[in-house]
Symmetry: C3
């Protein structure tokens, strides 16, 4: 698969990442087949979190991969920490414990990337800095990033954190593209003009932070898939039309739409369906035109003032 | 007319600019009379865009001005590019083509100012930088700016663009002043507190970017003129009262309200009516008091917490 | 009482400040008792504004304190200026006049801290800078800050103002915590995601500006007290539960919730009730756990995505 460098690092990653949030729903045999298919497609970047499946996803993944040192070198593993029952927690103590838990479940001694999962209102950036420093020195984490963070939160972290923030995982899909729409409607009276992210997209471009869109096929907050959904007739007509033009599925076009954006995003695809996985990876071979990108945008119901 | 320097440049411009968006609605004779009146008033800064009247506005303007080298030196011409049918386009190729089109229609070999018309979601600032560099080197454009842009978008451009951003054309009038109201209602539960522009007004002041208010007499998004409009009884009462005090028309006061703001704005007046044009330029001679500015603001329905 | 340094200064201030906005409602004897109680509790930081009670609060305070040079050295006095009838005014002339008025009413020759009360749309930061410079040189004001300001407004001031901005007084309570909630809901479709303050909380942390929460017991914009209010059953149940655990009143917990935040805030308590004053100061001795802080947050109706 086509690769890119992650954020400001030299780490080569496939442009489509594999989200393992639901891998515990697969049987061991299914999980093994799923991961092998991904690897055959060149999709060797796997996204985890300590809380996915209560930790079960990381374990299931390691088992399905028959993790050992040789295998470990062939994959890139990202995990997240900071969400606990009833609260978020970016304390040094919790970050260190969470990573140790992930490493144990993943049967590895290092993560390629660690993300802070959701902004903790009580974050003390000095503690995050100490935790990151320790994890890097110990060789437990190679690169650090965030998830669902806005610019000033990242600035606050950077006041103390020495390591570059390499990624920011954000909810973004054709139908959940307010972070794109706001930029084209600013200062308008309409709903799209309402600021909800403080220009996180442009901020990430400015600072060479890779945006990892999560839920690239969903609308709302986990409400459902927009593909082939009768709630989005115009969008699906347009996606099907363009998919036919390229001889690919609408899944491919949905991912290609994200990849077409010049921010050089790395969508995280969490489907557990082999065909969708293949179709998603196929997007790396498609380069939508500017016209097609805007046609899809408009078909999703956004407008150009 | 009173002049000001545009952004951080040494370019002297009249404090009221003339918007030519509707000049193709005038007959050649009317257009000639309109432009001559503007010039007699010292209003020699003309705002265009490649898309106004499908290009016809630029042509009509050049004809009405009987453009030649001598005439060219007496006027300042600003145009815009980047809006295409069904999409925005800040690609290098399109910017260069668009400027060539404008120059041809305007019968000139340079623009004083070129603005990027509306933020292109697919902007690649490296391409914009190359286009600007080329246009400046070729002598086709003297100064560069933007329109309807927010701070982070400008920051992203500035990451690559070497030339200063001298202007940002923004919709702003007494009744469309959310960018002012937000600053006085932040952190409130009311509608004005909702952020729609990420402090673009203060950002422009901070970075010496001239704000050019567009549609200074309109409410809503091209919904209508608020002056003498029964929908705004209190505002019109106040404007008439202050207009009477200064012995001018309410048009003059509407522009004087923008000029009173310390951001040193350059309103772009797009009226094609000679009397309104004269009344608009008259605003350069009026300095509203702080009390009057706030009285008008409050009469428009805003409040002070 | 536990103390902290104010902003980036070396000034030691108690972590709970006393708001004197309603002190003119007390009789001279009550006011004297109120202030003496505060001083006995170590709460020697008093927050004023030139407009509180039309100036009467500052006078009443000075009388109740029997102000003289010895007394003056035992207290820290903060006042504000910039709000006038029907407008805000940060002109040099007005700032200087306002401070002179406050000093006269307070029977002192200096303020420890001067805040600009509410952002003036017509602010000219050069004038603010001149006023601050003059006030500092004359020894009339030791430190300068703002109130109800957002990041870009502070940046604009800092373009010219040489003195550090040491404090930003902002409306913040458990039930008015949108500036906290926005940071945990960004990029969501819900109401909390709507940006109303441009990350002022994180900005203040980033720049070592002390946030002084005002109205720490109120919901809405002066709508009422949330403590013991049947409109907030779940919140009050939680506050009572935690208060019982620590053997303190719910007032104490409401303030302790603000003090638990790592931004190192200095709540301004404006109650004129002696028991509430004591309970508020008691909060300096309580350190809520992370769990308790989040439990209170959730009980107030916010959610964690």
């Amino acid at each position: 698969m086509r690769t890119m460098t992650l954020g400001p690092t030299h780490l080569e990653v496939p442009v489509v990442g594999i989200g393992c949030m639901r891998i515990q729903n697969l049987s061991p045999a299914e999980a093994e087949r799923y991961i092998q298919t991904a690897l055959e497609l060149g999709a060797n970047f796997f996204d985890h979190a300590d809380i996915y499946g209560g930790g079960e996803c990381e374990s299931r993944f390691a088992d399905a991969l028959h993790m050992n040192d040789d295998v470990r070198e062939r994959v890139l593993i990202q995990s997240k920490c900071g969400i606990r029952k009833g609260m978020y927690d970016f304390s040094k103590e919790h970050i260190l414990e969470a990573v140790d838990g992930s490493l144990k479940r993943l049967k590895t001694d290092y993560l390629d990337v660690l993300l802070l999962h959701r902004p903790d209102a009580l974050v003390e950036p000095e503690e995050v800095a100490e935790a990151f420093e320790r994890l890097q020195t110990q060789g437990k984490v190679r690169y650090f990033g965030v998830s669902n963070h806005k610019p000033m939160q990242i600035e606050l972290l950077k006041k103390y954190v020495r390591q570059p923030i390499v990624a920011n995982q954000l909810q973004l899909s054709i139908t959940n593209a307010t972070m794109i729409a706001q930029g084209m409607n600013l200062n308008m009276g309409n709903e799209w003009a309402v600021d909800r992210d403080e220009s996180i997209l442009d901020y990430c471009r400015l600072h060479d932070i890779t945006i990892q869109p999560w839920s690239p096929f969903l609308y709302g907050f986990f409400e459902g898939v927009f593909l082939d959904n009768p709630k989005f007739p115009e969008l699906n007509r347009k996606l099907d039309e363009i998919a036919a033009r390229y001889g690919v599925s609408n899944v491919t076009i949905a991912i290609a739409w994200l990849l077409r954006h010049p921010a050089k995003m790395q969508p995280i695809v969490g489907t557990m369906n082999i065909e969708r996985l293949q179709a998603s990876c196929k997007a790396a071979e498609i380069q939508l035109t500017r016209e097609e990108w805007y046609e899809i945008y408009l078909a999703a119901g956004y407008m150009l003032p």
